[in-house]
Symmetry: C2
Subunit: 200 residues, 2 copies
């Protein structure tokens, strides 16, 4: 017996190991779980992956993930179309929605400025943000980047870029634990940071 | 916008959350990763899951996972067919193979005695083990259960069951950290425990 599993099992372990946050031991545990799981459970997972790849796209307006573009947030007339909250990733939108403190629109940058990883302003979804600000409807842009070095750099960059436009540019209040991911902030902390936002 | 994601994304997050060792935040991270990943990566994962469900089965002799039954270990004439190492799960076989200290056969119980979880001897793959011992070829059974309460109970049970058969019954030497999973033991510790095995 070789020191790797039989073909199919090893390929499944490898496929799961390639996913973020799953190490070789975790991948092995999942592979054996699926192996013994009812056919239905494996089928549900396969269908869910394939459905997401088929149906889900990015909103042409804000960059959020959605099944129709523009996304439901951009199309919702009950939301405040004079405020845009700029975030790094689509998942950050869910974090902010959970605070129930915000009723405006969003804009997803697709990351943050990070010279170490060779990500500059040109790699982010900034031109579309500028297009959206050309309409006279938007009165405030809230910069809700992750409270870490890359988020700070991006906040500073956008603040300088947007301030000449005569639109109020704010950022989340400090109160967020520094060095972490916005995604992991609890609702109360994030809600308070949103409430106490200040000019950037 | 509701506080759950649009249909397909939420279904994918739910499907990953159902896997062992993946929490809601981890599942969300994986879902967004797959969403942005190249079509090929999602396809490879789908194919790997579906291939395992189609091809992989359990060996009729030892209970190991395999693509052909009997499995390659049971069929290998170079292995020592006079020794059977009894383990809880197929993944434990890989842990023992990695020590390169063992050249005998295996028998997978499919778990351990655990009254709290309502798992008794009748729920384990014990009758097939007894069948295998009826041939006069087997001279030693090594009990390599997890070094925890359930593994100890199972070792004691099997030791009493097998000792009247006139076959040598041994267990792994202590040296394994108590309270853990055999799966997480490093090769050296596990190899030493195998070397120093004693009568059960
Ligand atoms: Zn949108
Ligand atoms: Zn076998």
């Amino acid at each position: 017996m070789a020191l790797a599993y039989d073909g199919a099992i090893q390929r499944l372990i490898d496929a799961f190991s390639a996913l973020p946050g799953i190490g070789p031991k975790g991948a092995q545990r999942i592979a054996f779980h699926l192996l013994s799981a009812p056919e239905d459970e494996a089928r549900a997972l396969i269908d869910a992956i394939s459905e997401v790849k088929q149906k889900v796209r990015f909103c042409d307006v804000c960059g959020n993930v959605c099944e129709t573009s523009p996304c439901p947030v951009c199309m919702d007339p009950r939301r405040d179309h004079t405020v845009i909250c700029v975030v790094e990733e689509p998942k950050d939108i869910m974090s902010i929605e959970r605070t129930r403190e915000y009723r405006g629109l969003y804009h997803v940058l697709g990351g943050a400025i990070n010279p170490m990883a060779n990500v500059g302003p040109a790699d982010l979804n900034i031109p579309k943000l500028l297009d959206r600000l050309k309409t006279d409807e938007v009165k405030e842009v809230i910069l809700a980047l992750d409270p870490n070095i890359e988020g700070e750099a991006t906040t500073t960059y956008l603040s300088r870029l947007l301030s000449p436009l005569g639109i109020r540019v704010t950022r989340l209040a400090s109160g967020l634990p520094v060095g972490g991911d916005l995604e992991y902030a609890d609702e109360v902390t994030l809600g308070r940071a949103l409430e106490g936002r200040r000019d950037a």
